[in-house]
Amino acid sequence: MSSDLLLFLAAFLASAVEAVEALTIVLAVGIVRGWRSTLWGVAAAAAVLAIVVAILGPALQAIPISSLRLVVGALLLTFGLQWLRKAVLRAAGLKPLHDENAAFAEERRLAGATTAVVPGRTDWYAFTVAFKGVLLEGLEVAFIVIAFGQSAHGLSLAAAAAAAAIVVVTAVGVIVRGPLARVPENSLKFVVGVLLTSFGIFWAGEGVGVSWPGSDAAIVGIAVFIAALSLGLVRVLRRSRPAMRPVGAGG
């Protein structure tokens, strides 16, 4: 039960972070170039991502469970450590925070600087930028959802979490009609990094023959351990760099 909750949380937060970044691109292009071609680009990218999940998700279940857990665990570990490393460096002030307002302004500038749209024609610039933005931001989420889908139950739970996150972010974006700059992206990335790394350790460990004390409940213990280590690392780095403005893990 607790591992299901963590799985849902990991998929939801990872999807929400990527959806916020995709929303920034889509909004900027849609506002400057018009919505028809932009939304076709979004729809095309969403279709590609859905096909990737629909094909690869069930196909994974044909692989023997121990090999599958090793591959999935290793994949989650590489993603998780990438997210966590960046989040720790950002929280410690060693890497600039992702600025949605700046990204939005830059996308608007680029969209406005390109050749004007011929009325009634498909705007391939808007289509391509929206397609690429949604596809690239969504690809990692698709892989995370697939990785969690090593059981049919996990796949549906992770897919539902991703869909819920996308609906929430889109709804807020439509209401605000601007980039969601107030979303504490680094905090979310920190939590997602901890969760992906923890699931990665657990499943990769099972894949190489480890027996976890407490069985599935070990995931919670691993997550607490990784979270404590990461927060400790941020604290040490901040202390060793007193001249820098500390940026909260919630930054």
Partner: protein, 70 residues
């Protein structure tokens, strides 16, 4: 840059990320844990310890790189 190189660079960045040492360390850590488990050692601690070490080393290396203005 050719399409093939850009395609390869995208997947390298997607899977390996900013620090290839971490990915290489993970391969070593998984192999070592597998060997320990295969020898009958109760090696549940090995992967959390190895992953922690990889994270700490990678972050400290980046901090040190920045401190030296690289």
């Amino acid at each position: 840059m050719s399409h093939l190189r850009r395609f390869g660079a995208f997947w390298w960045d997607f899977v390996v990320g900013d620090d290839w040492h971490v990915a290489a360390g993970l391969v070593l850590a998984l192999t070592a844990t597998w060997v320990l488990a295969d020898l009958g050692v109760d090696a549940w601690w090995a992967l959390p310890v190895a992953v922690s070490a990889l994270l700490v080393v990678s972050v400290l290396r980046e901090a040190s790189r920045q401190a030296h203005g690289e």
